[in-house]
Subunit: 548 residues, 2 copies
């Protein structure tokens, strides 16, 4: 399908590579003497080899048979067994063209990625995401920020709107902002963007008054799994609905999916939890397949037209400092992006590519890496569970939590938190009980990602007024109370798509503070067990006092 | 000095970081519990350590006392002694804040660079380039392509001209091209841009007809040392002249200097060469200082106004695959560039930073790295000498080389090559001899960088016509003759600043082919000794035949 009309002027204005026309002589170069390239000789690279001691793919339990909780926290103290991997300066020629060697990794190379990188991620994408068309392309990027920046530059004209979730990752907006590309938010629920709202926005575009006469968006930026900041997970059915609308209105979908492998089972109270996985923790094709079947599909799986640009990263599964990921898209977009990368940044770090591939592809292999991903996912599941456990435990002391059944949907439970009238019995309450007070905050159980998204019902605060004076807003007060008690959450305004929500020196956006609600994003990804427990206890105390 | 008027709209339109306003709470974060950031926990990074076996800083001789030629080529065969370096997951706390550890290097970090990186390159810049003002800033980049792309985006408005050398690095043009930023070439000689021509262009800007009514350039892109493709080296005196004109006309200078440490002594014929260095090869502050005094200064040394943005890279001294370098500039530009990088690409690879710094800063140290740079420089000196030796040796068989004294200047010798009338005695001729034929090509001895730049006098070809039919131009024929004989040079059009010199499918620019001259860039950086000798011999044979 021809999607070339989506390319920006910047994409169209690229100068052809001056190497064009020399390509037919590549064979000669290989046979004869090339004195055309200005590259250093590998004998002058100071590294004779690089090595690393690495964990086993099974380093983290998936909890199938080895006890209920493996306690990730013990990872600090207990030394896990490691293996040494080595990247030689020159690989053995018998290891073939995708062998990893420093003489290549430390040299200039194709921006698409080292051969070992391209081979691995192409096969991985094929097996795991199962693209709906055969000639998809993969291309290395330096992490999803880099991938999105390039996709945005090649698709968006300065000043136009892009479709985003109602709350979204601020980094994506910051990248688009300098050229005047602004978010146009689509309302969302626990499954992400709401199809009816998307359809309404697009079908009625020309009738709206709030888009400054700009043309209907043709690019969507979305984080469908473990959405940042809300934690929403979009299932296959919802994706199909959104995709069909994007076909109808000719929208390109940029699927930013860093948390794809951090999908979790439903949360159960501590006492009700049993095994975390019914799939054995063994490394083999069968357990890989079974595990992958538990995950929501990527947009790639339904993208029969090639209108999805998918961004994958090793940041959340290996380490953000690798600055390594890949973009999957149709051949036209891939060619344009490859040229653009060659012009603007050059290749991604060859040291990163070599280190990650020697581990993931050569040491662990495909099934080993899948097993590693399962272990990482299990660790974050424990972290999420611990945070929720801490909240529920705090509910014995002065406030309660009750499931909001009318808002819970699609396997996602929504809870309301409220202050207990004094003298009320300890224990978990139910929303039907007449004794509960007004709702202080509510949240959905995150079934993916790294975040708990808390919505505060400011209207239930005694001092709430519709239009507070600057600096006096309740969100400022609550966030500051928390920070001064030693608990730092990410304030909701950071993820706002409202144009006016640009922080002042006080760091708070004014327009947003006039709302009935405030939001905060709480991360369970990096604090220690003790920090999480203590922080949630302090959070409940400060919040109760705030609403008193 | 206030230079903020140089910033582009893209720079001015950046959205403030949403973290603004939270900064005053950083102390609290450190003391209390931060659940604000969405980062993985380091216990989940799979690398327990990284190691490398690395060469000694003295691995390559500088030729002071250990023989005339150490022959880099032996580096292939002879195993050099190595040391193992190790990057632990967690450094010993007593190693201080700039210790290198994977728990930090694999994590998200400041785009300015890891503490160890910033410490090292700031001190290095201070010692080596001696900036003329104290509050200069350093900032990691992912190589000079990345550094230039960002500098260009933050300074240049779409559609405007930038000042460049007459022939220049095509990558710099490709990066600027999509937003319509075009080169305005300044004539050059063996010392680079010619001050009088620069002054003339700027002073008469409004009278010119060939700049499409666009405003006078306010940005200069220059490669002052080992200029790509011409090999020109700009000395301190010429830099001062150019800088003074840039002050007068308020020009920002972007100094792209990847070849700075590849500065070579004058070429001497094989029989006349003796020691390559009078400075001992020992690693100590005194030899470092003596060596640095032999190098042409950076623009930084005369930049009392902060109008220079200097780009340094580890590509030519450690390896291009590191994708690691740094930008040095004034505090305003540094802040803007740091924000822009945070938005557009995020930090440079932490694995690259850790690997390069553990080697250069922790293992070798400042004086060790200076010694390494000297060794690398000596290796490229040998390569340059070998290429010239091969040309001079070929001059015994049917063609001759004679120094062109009228064009030689500033320590740079220019040579003319000509066919010898048949029956002429073998040997080097002098231009005064009546028996030499017409000049076929000429070149300057490159005293830095990686390239020999050859200028062909097409007008001395019997078939030369001022306006050849497309595809029939002599440059095409000569380049193709060479390629088909197994010798691949980079054709001159690749480095052209002429707008029309965009390659067709044939790879050759038409406007350029109407010139009396053709050019080719010959690299001595990466071929083997045998390849260089053979290629130069073939080159002479093919060229002689071509001009017959």
């Amino acid at each position: 399908m021809d999607l070339s009309h989506h390319l920006s002027d910047e994409a169209k204005n690229m100068k052809p590579s001056p190497l064009k026309g020399m390509y037919k002589y590549w064979v000669i170069i290989r046979l004869g003497s090339s004195l055309s390239g200005g590259v250093p000789h590998p004998s002058l690279f100071p590294y004779e080899n690089m090595k690393a001691n690495v964990l086993q793919p099974t380093a983290f339990s998936v909890g199938d048979s080895d006890g209920l909780f493996s306690w990730l926290w013990s990872a600090f103290k207990n030394k896990k067994s490691t293996t040494e991997i080595t990247i030689p300066k020159y690989a053995n020629p018998s290891d073939g063209p995708s062998a990893i060697q420093l003489s290549t990794a430390l040299q200039y190379s194709m921006v698409q990625g080292l051969p070992a990188f391209v081979d691995f991620v192409r096969n991985f994408t094929l097996q795991v995401f199962q693209p709906a068309y055969p000639d998809f392309c993969v291309l290395a990027n330096s992490g999803n920020t880099d991938g999105w920046t390039k996709a945005c530059a090649l698709l968006c004209h300065p000043g136009e709107f892009i479709l985003t979730e109602d709350w979204t990752y601020p980094g994506a907006l910051l990248s688009a902002w300098p050229s005047g590309v602004r978010p146009y938010p689509v309302p969302m629920d626990n499954l992400g963007m709401i199809p009816d709202d998307l359809e309404r926005i697009l079908s009625q575009w020309d009738e709206y008054e709030d888009h400054e006469g700009k043309r209907r968006p043709h690019v969507m930026y979305t984080i469908p799994i473990g959405q940042n900041p809300t934690g929403a997970v979009m299932d296959g059915r919802r994706k199909q609905e959104i995709y069909d609308i994007c076909v109808k209105y000719d929208i390109i979908i940029v699927e930013d999916d860093p948390y794809y492998f951090l999908q979790y089972p439903e949360y159960k109270r501590k006492s009700e939890r049993s095994l975390r996985s019914h799939i054995p923790g063994k490394v083999n094709p069968e357990t890989s397949r079974k595990f992958l079947n538990t995950l929501a599909p990527s947009y790639l799986k339904i993208d029969h037209q090639g209108r999805v640009i998918r961004l994958d990263t090793f940041s959340k599964t290996i380490g953000p400092g690798c600055r390594l990921g890949w973009t999957t898209c149709n051949p036209l977009f891939a060619t344009v992006m490859e040229n653009y990368s060659a012009n603007k940044t050059n290749q991604s770090s060859g040291i990163s590519q070599a280190m990650v591939m020697q581990l993931v592809s050569k040491q662990w292999g495909y099934d080993g890496y899948i097993r590693w991903l399962r272990g990482i996912g299990a660790q974050y599941t424990e972290r999420r569970d611990l945070m929720l456990d801490s909240l529920f435990e705090a509910s014995f002391s002065g406030f309660g939590l009750a499931q909001n059944h009318s808002l819970s949907q699609g396997g996602v439970a929504v809870y309301d938190a409220y202050a207990k009238p004094s003298g009320f019995m300890h224990g978990i309450s139910d929303e039907k009980l007449p004794s509960r007070g007004k709702t202080l905050f509510s949240f959905s159980i995150p079934n993916a990602g790294m975040f708990l998204w808390i919505k505060f019902h400011l209207k239930n605060h005694r001092s709430w007024v519709p239009r507070p004076a600057p600096g006096s807003a309740l969100e400022v007060k609550l966030w500051t109370d928390l920070a001064e008690s030693g608990v730092m959450f990410a304030p909701g305004y950071m993820f706002s798509t409202e144009e006016d929500d640009t922080p002042s020196d006080e760091g708070f956006a004014e327009s947003h503070l006039r709302s009935e609600y405030a939001h905060m994003r709480v991360s369970f990804s990096s604090a220690t067990k003790e920090e999480i427990s203590k922080a949630m206890k302090t959070f409940v105390e400060v919040t109760l006092k705030f609403f008193q």
